[in-house]
């Protein structure tokens, strides 16, 4: 029976504000906080899916800021929690609470409504309508039975936390996304191994976000702190390591089992059709939080660390991708093995090495293992609404390894891109895992 970390967290993170109210009411208020936190995050998963600029690196960035906001909102009133200020790049101390009683659910609601509203201000009319509806509903949920002055004070504090986080976010280099992340002009490389566009979508004739590694990392000291080693030497000769790697993609693709197809689709996590790869791992945490009734303090700390790990993973990975600028399997295979071959999945519009999915999955599993433990079993129903069945995993590591392998099944990555991506992600994740969220 795996040890659930929540047993530890639940003991350690009792909120002082709750100690001033009767135990039954305190338990009720803790449930309200959980509900506010989880419901806003569930909306964020949808907003990521339905906001055109939220391609995977951008989505990961947003998840990080939302998670950090929630953690800082709670930690500002709980001495058992430790702020991430001073631990994350350029994050200075957050606003202190004003004197007087605060309600944690109202603080959370104020913070989340403000940060989500600003991060997703560019969503469509349906997203704006949903945020307004959520603001009303969660506002009612959080404030029912609470003195009006406490509500106002608490919401104002949450908004102040969000305002500071947003100001911090605005200066990270990733706040403005134009043309859905694709440069208006792009000069392709001239080496035979250089990435070239892999589809006939006009917008995607340039790679996605080639400058993303210039974004300020959260916990990494610098963007290429965890760079991957070189990939096998590019070679078109049969029998070479590179050709063999391409041949493996080709042969695997031609003999895909139904389970392999299912795995490829389960982890595909396409932008604008899913909450993206980073959202997939956020979804896993939300499901565990529901299943295990984790307290809000534990959830927010976990989401903050996970968000940081995944955001940094994309920064790190994008640094590697555009350093090597390696072509995708479909390009190599069509040129040198089979001109009519098509991969099972749609090839993403940016260079191959290293695999973004693998890198961020490696980072995610590292953080989640550090928080919730080795051998932590869970079910993943992230794509149940999309008609994909629930998958069960014995550990976060197993899930990450499957996510990485899914890219080979999908025909969009070489094995070496997946394996080195996992390594890279584990290294990135270690920085996030080292963050202190408890005093």
């Amino acid at each position: 029976m795996p040890m659930h970390r929540r047993q530890v967290l639940g003991l350690a993170l009792a909120a002082p504000a709750l100690l001033r109210v009767p135990p039954a009411l305190a338990a009720d208020r803790a449930d309200v906080s959980r509900k506010v936190l989880l419901t806003w995050h569930k909306l964020v998963l949808e907003l990521v899916r339905h906001t055109a600029t939220y391609v995977p690196p951008v989505a990961a960035r947003a998840f990080a800021y939302v998670g950090i906001t929630a953690h800082e909102a709670l930690s500002s009133g709980n001495p058992a929690l430790r702020s991430l200020a001073g631990q994350l790049s350029d994050l200075s101390p957050l606003p202190a609470r004003a004197s007087g009683v605060h309600d944690e659910a109202c603080v959370l609601h104020g913070a989340l409504q403000a940060v989500v509203g600003e991060l997703f201000a560019n969503t469509g009319p349906t997203g704006l309508r949903a945020m307004q509806a959520m603001g009303r509903k969660m506002g009612e949920t959080a404030s029912t039975g609470i003195d009006g002055a406490v509500v106002a004070r608490s919401v104002a504090h949450g908004e102040a936390i969000a305002e500071r986080i947003l100001a911090w976010a605005a200066a990270d280099g990733g706040a403005v996304i134009e043309n859905m992340g694709f440069p208006m002009n792009y000069t392709p490389g001239t080496r035979p191994q250089d990435w070239v566009p892999t589809n006939l979508i006009r917008l995607q004739q340039a790679p996605l976000l080639p400058g993303w590694s210039n974004c300020r990392p959260f916990a990494l000291p610098y963007s290429d702190a965890c760079d991957a080693p070189p990939h096998p030497d590019y070679d078109e000769a049969p029998g070479s390591a590179f050709h063999d790697a391409a041949l493996e993609v080709y042969e695997t693709s031609r003999n895909l089992t139904q389970d392999q197809k299912l795995i490829a689709r389960f982890w595909s996590d396409d932008p604008m059709l899913t909450p993206t790869p980073a959202g997939h791992w956020i979804s896993i945490v939300l499901q565990i939080a529901d299943r295990d009734s984790l307290p809000a303090e534990a959830i927010s700390a976990t989401l903050a660390k996970l968000g940081v790990a995944q955001a940094d993973a994309f920064i790190s990975c994008w640094s590697t991708k555009f350093r090597y600028n390696l072509l995708r399997p479909v390009t190599y295979i069509n040129r040198h093995i089979d001109p009519s071959w098509e991969p099972f999945l749609i090839t993403p519009p940016f260079p191959e090495y290293t695999s973004g999915h693998s890198t961020q999955s490696g980072a995610a599993m590292t953080v989640l293992t550090s928080v919730l433990g080795e051998g932590f079993a869970f079910d993943d129903a992230t794509h149940e609404d999309d008609g994909l069945p629930v998958r069960s995993f014995p550990s976060f590591a197993a899930a990450a390894e499957e996510a990485a392998m899914s890219r080979l099944y999908g025909g969009i990555h070489f094995r070496f891109g997946n394996e080195r991506g996992l390594d890279q992600g584990r290294a990135v994740g270690a920085y996030a895992a080292a963050l202190k969220t408890e005093s």
């Binding site: 569930k42 909306l43 949808e46 899916r49 339905h50 906001t51 055109a52 600029t53 201000a121 560019n122 969503t123 469509g124 009319p125 349906t126 309508r129 949903a130 509806a133 959520m134 509903k137 996304i177 134009e178 043309n179 859905m180 208006m184 006939l200 979508i201 006009r202 917008l203 604008m272 059709l273 609404d385 999309d386 008609g387 994909l388």
Partner: protein, 519 residues
């Protein structure tokens, strides 16, 4: 591979720059005053229907008004003259998103299927542009949805049409509307009324539908374009509709390939002259131009040649706004009468989505004759920056030059009259048959283009909540006569007709080609 063949046809010798038609904006004087209004519930929709309800052969115009009243306008234009419309009192309904003409009871007086928030309505034509609500009389369940797509066909052996209605998001869902697509309905006949509808499950927020004989089997299928913004687990769809059988989806095992776009509109035509229908699908950013890869395979597997053909229309081409476009109503038509099909696309932001162009001009993509198309919307004078939705490219004053009416969100519908020198000859025909299905929906008009035959499916549906029944316009280029025939809905191939350029004819399966003159 059939793709190779199709590409060869497309890659013919480069021709001269296509003749650019000239349009005059007559919005201010034409008399069309209805505005498509409303907030979130009307972010999609905004259709126009054109059809003759007065009996004079000139097409009337019905405009949806969204939260405001719809309007039916009597066409008072003279042949070749300025466009002039007179508003009637008919069909002033609220909550209208779009409409399609369809002579449901085949009495020779055009009826109108009105798509709404709430109950859809069947308006029975009484002549002289008067209508009565026959929804209940005809046993039609109007539902209570957000209806955004329509298609109709007469199934084999039926005296009454089968109508497909596409429905959108559950409009009562606020915080989590995504994944709440409501069921599309298939209204099959029960004698001379409609049976209770069949749910076309799964439904994925359809914004356009059209019946099409995609494989020339004689058995028309239902193609559905869906808005990926709202579905979960969805994709574009193609439904089998075998007589007497429940509808069923084409599957991956049958060759259907998963495609997920912000499907807004479908246009169909035989662009590459291979005898099979091609499809233009509108979306956000890139649009699609699909050609059947290999007809001999029997698989509905399509290649997207929009990029190679120059019709992605993914961002504004004029006006300086470089953000991606939002495309709605597409329509194939030979706008410059050069004998080659062109593409019109209505464009406009959903609302104020900052990542997409706010100044998003409509497209007029003229065929260059070598498989590529040339943008000419600005040069033709129709590059409006209004927030467009539905449209019809139609000859409103029966001078042989196609005109244009476009519904805009929040501002009046715009109408342009083509006024320049004709780029070529033309002919127009109307199909009429006795008995059921008077306008021969489900027939195919074949017209010879040199050694090739261009096939036009006569369908009710498609576009973006906009449709037309009436004169079918064919540009002829320099040809003095049109060689064409009709494959009637029962599969009977009519005689080839040789019709002189610049004429109107009414074609019937038993009556041949009867000349007709406006006025």
């Amino acid at each position: 591979m059939r793709t190779t063949i199709a590409l060869l046809v497309l890659a013919g010798p480069a021709l001269a720059e296509p003749s650019v038609p000239v349009f005059a904006d007559e919005t201010a004087t034409a008399g069309l005053t209805t505005i498509y209004q409303g907030d979130w519930e009307y972010m999609v929709g905004g259709g126009v229907a054109t059809f003759d309800c007065s009996g004079d052969g000139f097409p009337e115009v019905f405009l949806s008004g969204g939260a405001g009243p719809s309007g039916l306008y009597w066409n008072r234009s003279l042949q070749g003259g300025p466009l002039t419309f007179e508003k009637t009192d008919s069909i002033a309904l609220d909550a209208v998103l779009g409409a399609y003409p369809l002579d449901i009871d085949s009495d020779g007086m055009m009826d109108l299927v009105v798509l709404r928030h709430g109950s859809n309505r069947l308006m029975r034509g009484l002549g002289e542009c008067r209508f009565e609500d026959a929804t209940e009389t005809w046993g039609f369940d109007g539902g209570d949805a957000w209806s955004t797509a329509f298609a109709a066909i007469w199934e084999k052996g039926q005296d009454w049409p089968t109508i497909a209605i596409g429905n959108y998001v559950d409009r009562y869902e606020e915080a989590f509307p995504w994944g709440s697509c409501t069921d599309n309905w298939l209204h099959r006949p029960d004698g001379t009324r409609f049976a209770p509808p069949i749910a076309l499950t799964p439904s994925f927020c359809a914004l356009s539908m059209i019946f099409t004989d995609w494989n020339r089997s004689g058995q028309w299928a239902l193609r559905v374009s869906n808005d990926r913004e709202y579905y979960k687990g969805g994709q574009e769809q193609l439904w089998h509709l075998d007589p007497g059988q429940p509808p069923r989806l084409y599957t991956e095992a049958e060759g259907w390939k998963r495609l997920r776009i912000w499907g807004m509109g479908i246009a169909t035509a035989d662009v590459n002259l291979d005898g099979y229908p091609d499809y233009y699908l509108t979306s956000m950013a890139d649009n699609k131009l699909q050609f059947l890869k290999d007809p001999a395979s029997g698989k509905p597997d399509y290649a997207d040649l929009a990029f190679r053909s120059g019709v992605t229309a993914h961002r504004p081409y004029t006006g300086g706004d470089l953000r991606p476009s939002t495309a709605w109503h597409p329509q194939f038509a030979d706008v410059n009468n050069d004998g080659r099909l062109d593409i019109f696309v209505a464009k406009g932001n959903v609302a104020k989505m900052p990542d997409f162009a706010e100044r998003d001009p409509n497209n007029l993509l003229l065929s260059a004759g070598d498989g590529t198309f040339v943008e000419a919307g600005d040069r033709a004078g129709i590059a409006s920056m209004s927030v467009a939705r539905g449209a019809q490219v139609v000859d409103l004053n029966l001078d042989g030059l196609l005109d244009l009416v476009v519904v805009n969100r929040w501002t009046p519908a715009e109408v342009w009259r083509q006024t320049g020198e004709p780029g070529g000859n033309w002919v127009q025909v109307r199909l009429e048959q006795a008995g059921p299905n008077r306008n021969a929906i489900g027939s195919v008009v074949e017209i010879r283009r040199g050694a090739a035959v261009e096939r036009h499916e006569i369908a009710a549906g498609g576009g973006h909540v906009s449709g037309s029944v009436g004169w079918l316009h064919f540009g002829l280029g320099a040809a003095e006569r049109a060689e064409l025939r009709v494959i009637w809905p029962d599969g009977t191939a009519g005689d080839w007709h040789s019709l002189p350029a610049g004429t109107f004819h009414i074609l019937g399966p038993d009556t041949g080609a009867r000349p007709w003159t406006p006025g």
